[in-house]
Each structure stands twice: as C-alpha cells, then as structure tokens.
C-alpha cells in the first residue's frame, strides 16, 4: 500500500485523465466478444446451447451488478424482474393477454412490453423502498418478501400455468425470420449481451455512475451536494429491472418454457452468489461470475451427484475470503 502512495505522482494532466479511462476491462471485453463470436465455428452444438443459456444468466448478473455493486442496493428479490420479464413476454406472444393481438402480439412487441412493464413496476417498488429510506438488511428483507410473494402468486395463478408454468412458447421472429437453430439463438443472445454490457458500462462510467457510487459510499455527503439519493436509486433500480426483464424474456425465448422458479427467492439468491463471486463492482466480472458458477454447477453435479452443492458452498466461502472484490473483479478493475 505504501509503495502505491509514493509511486503515484500525477500533477500531469494526461495522467489525471487516465482516471476515467480504464483500458483493461474494455480490451478483455473485446477479446471475450471475439471468442464468443467465433465459437460456433467449433460446431459443438452442446456448448453452443449451453453458452446461450449461460449468457442469458450473464445478462441477469450484469443487471444486478449495477443495482448492488454500483447502487449499493442489496436486493434479495432481483429474480422478480427476471421472472416477470419471462412471464410477460410469454403471455404476450402466446396471445394470452386480452387486447394484445396482431402487431401487439409479435415477439418484438412482447420483448419491449416486458422490459417496459417491469421497469415501471420497479419504479413503483423503488418509490416506496427508497423514499421510505429503507437500507441494508431492512431493504434486503423487504425485497426478499416481495420475491416470496411473487413466487406464491405464480404458483397459485392457474391462468399463467400455476406450478407447471407455461410451455411451447413460439420462436422469436422478426419480419418472418424465426430464430430456431442453436446458432441463430446463440448470436441473438450474444448480441443482446453485448448491448446490455455496453449500456451498463456506459451508465457506470457516466457522471450518473459516479454520483451513484458516491451515494453508495456516503449517502449523507452526496445529499448535501444536492443530489436526491432516492431518485438516483429509483432510476438505477428501474434500469437494473429493465435489463433483468430482458434476460428473463431471453430465457423464455431460448428455453421455450417458463415456471414459478424463475420468479422466486431461489434464483434471487443464486444471482447474488454469481455476482458476489464474479465481482459485483465490475459489470464484466459479474457476467463472468454467472458463467463460471453455472458451469461449475453443471460439471460438479455430474461428477459428484448430491455433494456438489457442498463443494460449491466451500468454494463460495473460500472465494469470498480470498477475493473480497470477486474472482474477476480484482483483475478487471483498474
């Protein structure tokens, strides 16, 4: 630590500018994108399908990274947005919402409506949470309660499939082209991941992102500068919810079915683990965290049947102790 302090001398203007420009994550993101773009050339269908799903979870993790890592909002019900996105998309494209027919029942309309409705829902929830000045564990408990309620509703609501969920979702189609093949879906999800990544990275690097981190670090101080912290948190919550809804809708598109487990407490905690392990303060690290943990889960459950969850627990504890900023967060932040 001492050597850090003595080596950094930066009255020079160009060096101070470098505070805003963090080259490494950008290069790593580009490298990762290149690998993913070329991946289908391996023609390994199993992994193409796997990666498509993993990226959906990755988008979900990135949305939580914004809310938790940058906004400092520990949300135990983030899957509510994921699940709502999946359900709303499904209900619309299956023509199950009265009044939504014709152009309103197309895939694109479904996707947009899902994202819009969920972010509006987040604004309403956020209004009560943040103007109610809920923080820390209290906020966690309330969001957890919301997740449990949402799951109960999904299980007991017969019209939306109840416990069994909804099946046979029509494929995503744009102007007559249907995304059915694994490769088409892969690229569709990859493009969505890239858009989500660029959007979120832009937000966290913008002045809004700096203010958000300032509020996270010291809310009283940020407010004394004239920033309305509740308002900033609500906006963050809504953006995070929108991206989570996008990933939920993508999940419905890729797996062609939705069920109450998508909306509940279980997935909400899982995504917290992915993001914590990957590195909650770095968008890309959270994405990689989701990929890593989900891959480990798949491998370990094949390898050691029921004991995998024990191993994962040990791995989680070790990672939190060894890498408090996340496994990837350490390398990807400047």
């Amino acid at each position: 630590m001492k050597s850090d302090i003595s080596t950094i001398k930066s009255t020079d203007i160009s060096m101070q500018r470098s505070v805003f420009w963090q080259p490494r994550p950008a290069w790593i993101a580009m490298g990762l994108a290149a690998i993913l773009v070329l991946f289908p050339m391996t023609q390994n269908d199993y992994w193409i399908v796997q990666l498509t799903q993993l990226m959906v979870y990755g988008i979900f993790a990135m949305s939580l990274s914004l809310v938790w890592g940058y906004g400092g909002i520990l949300c135990f019900g983030h899957a509510v947005y994921f699940g709502m996105g999946a359900y709303i998309y499904t209900l619309i494209v299956k023509g199950m919402i009265p009044g939504f027919s014709g152009i309103l029942a197309t895939s694109i309309a479904g996707l947009l409506t899902a994202v819009l409705c969920v972010s509006l829902f987040a604004v309403v929830v956020g209004y009560f949470l943040f103007y109610g000045r809920l923080k820390g564990p209290y906020l966690g408990i309330v969001t957890l309660a919301i997740a449990v309620i949402a799951e109960r509703i999904a299980v007991d609501w017969y019209y939306i499939g109840g416990y069994n969920g909804l099946f046979s979702i029509p494929p995503f189609s744009v102007a007559g082209y249907e995304f059915i093949t694994p490769i088409a879906l892969f690229y569709f999800v990859l493009a969505s991941s890239a858009i989500a990544y660029l959007l979120l990275t832009h937000i966290v690097q913008s002045p809004f992102g700096a203010i958000l981190r300032a509020i996270r670090d010291n809310e009283a101080r940020a407010e004394s500068f004239g920033y309305n912290s509740a308002q900033h948190k609500i906006i963050t919550f809504a953006i995070g919810a929108a991206v989570a809804a996008l990933s939920g809708a993508l999940f419905a598109i890729v797996t062609e079915f939705v069920s109450p487990t998508l909306i509940g407490f279980g997935l909400s905690t899982e995504v917290l683990i992915w993001v914590a392990l990957g590195g909650k303060e770095v968008i890309l690290a959270s994405f990689l965290g989701a990929l890593l943990v989900r891959t480990l889960e798949t491998y370990l459950s094949e390898l050691m049947a029921y004991y995998w969850i024990l191993f994962l627990g040990v791995f989680f504890v070790a990672a939190v102790i060894l890498f408090p900023k996340g496994i990837f967060g350490r390398w990807l932040s400047d």
């Binding site: 001398k9 203007i13 101070q16 913008s206 670090d217 101080r221 940020a222 500068f225």
Partner: protein
C-alpha cells in the same frame, strides 16, 4: 452588513433532553465564526438543524432571508449551504480526483448519462482546488488511502467545489497533528479571505480558534452562553469556568 443566516428561538428536543435551546444567532455575509462549547452542548445538533438533517422542535431558520426550517437536506444543499462532517464525509472508493468531481456534476447542463466533455474547464477547476488543499499529487489515489488529516482537507475541497455561500465546518481539525492543525487554520483563513465565503466552524482546539476566529459563540447546555472576540471570551471568567479552564 447583510445577514446571511439567522436562527430565531431555534429549539430541538430529543425526548426529555433539550439539545438546542432557543438559540438566536445571526451571521453576516463574509463572516468567519467559531462555535465552541463543552461536549454535548449541542454544537453538532445545531449544524444538523441548519442543514436539515434534523427538523427543529420549534423556532425558525432563515438563510438569505428565506425560511429554510424543516426543508430536506438536498434542497438546503442546493440553496448554498455546504457542510463538512465531523467524521470525514468522503467517498472512500472513489479517487481523490473523482471525490472533487462529484459535486461539479450539478452544474453539468448535458444529461448526466452523457460523459462530460474532456476539454471542459471543470478539469482546470478541479486541479486548482486540489492544489489549494495540497492534494494535487494524490489525485489518482482512492480516497480511503489518504491520511486522516488529508481526508479532512479533501472534504473541505469537496464542499468548496459547490461554491457555497455558507460553509459549515464540523471539527475540521479533529485528530490532526499540531502541524496539520496550523495548516488547516491557514487554509480556512485563506478561503475566508479569498473566496469571501461565510464560514461557521465548530471547534474544540483552542489554539486553532485563536488562530482563525474573528468572533466566537460559546454554547452551553444547548443555549448561547456568550458571544464576542477571542480576547473577550478568553478573559471571561464564566466561560473559563465552563470550558476553557477545564480544557487547559
């Protein structure tokens, strides 16, 4: 002289305890004022009332002849009252540079979702401020790595960045070495003189008070006990008894 801050019979009760008791205080534009008093005399509560952190039980606060009693913190902040907290209120994870940058975003005309233009004069302003508070060589360091005294200076810089008309400093020299304290006193005197800013300081360190204050208000048990110059206060027997005498 124009009056910038005026409190009228300002009172705050916490249950049975009256922390601030009918305080009438006026502050003229450009004045540098110290508030002293023994522990628990209501100094910090008074600050919390002025900044809107607490709502007064009764009484009024007027800032620039506008009633600000009970207004929310961020509104009072926007009206031109800046505050330095007792515990350094800085953004630990942000760099020193970004700590100073955050208050500047309020002036940004473009959407906050757009990156600021690199050629903006804000960079010059930030650099000038960093020089003023002697932290220009630590701009890239996360604020958490600063020494305690440097954190206090950083926070003064952050408050200055907002160009408030009234700056409240809550124990700016707490935990500082003697040399740091002298440097801080000099910094505050400079700000007062160069920026023509009204400054209200809470302080314990009598050496510091002697160095900076033109006028002193003594608080005791929540009420104004005495007001006057350093010499008057120092020679006042009653004040010596409740405060100065004990601390020496």
């Amino acid at each position: 002289m124009t009056i910038i801050l005026k409190t009228e019979r300002l009172t705050k009760k916490f249950g049975g305890l009256t922390a601030v008791d009918h305080v009438n205080m006026t502050l003229s534009k450009g004045e540098l004022r110290c508030i002293i008093g023994p522990n628990g005399c209501g100094k910090s509560t008074l600050f919390n009332l002025i900044t809107g952190t607490y709502k007064p039980t009764s009484g009024r606060i007027a800032f620039k002849s506008k009633d600000i009693t009970g207004k929310p913190v961020h509104i009072i902040g926007r009206m031109g009252i800046g505050r330095k907290f007792q515990v350094p209120g800085i953004f630990n994870q942000l760099t020193v540079y970004d700590n100073i940058r955050v208050p500047f975003f309020r002036d940004q005309r473009r959407s906050l979702f757009l990156k600021p233009r690199k050629d903006s004069d804000i960079h010059q302003k930030i650099t000038a401020l960093l020089q003023k508070i002697n932290l220009d060589d630590k701009a890239c360091l996360p604020a958490i790595h600063l020494a305690h005294g440097e954190k206090q200076w950083l926070e003064i810089g952050m408050v200055l960045a907002r160009r408030p008309q009234l700056m409240l400093l809550d124990e700016p020299t707490a935990g500082m070495t003697a040399a740091e304290t002298r440097k801080t006193a000099q910094l505050i005197r400079n700000i007062s003189r160069e920026e023509k800013m009204t400054i209200l300081v809470i302080e314990h360190d009598i050496g510091f008070v002697r160095e900076i204050a033109s006028r002193i208000t003594v608080l005791y048990k929540g009420a104004v006990f005495k007001e006057g110059s350093y010499e008057t206060i120092q020679s006042d027997e009653a004040v010596r008894k409740i405060y100065l005498g004990k601390s020496r």
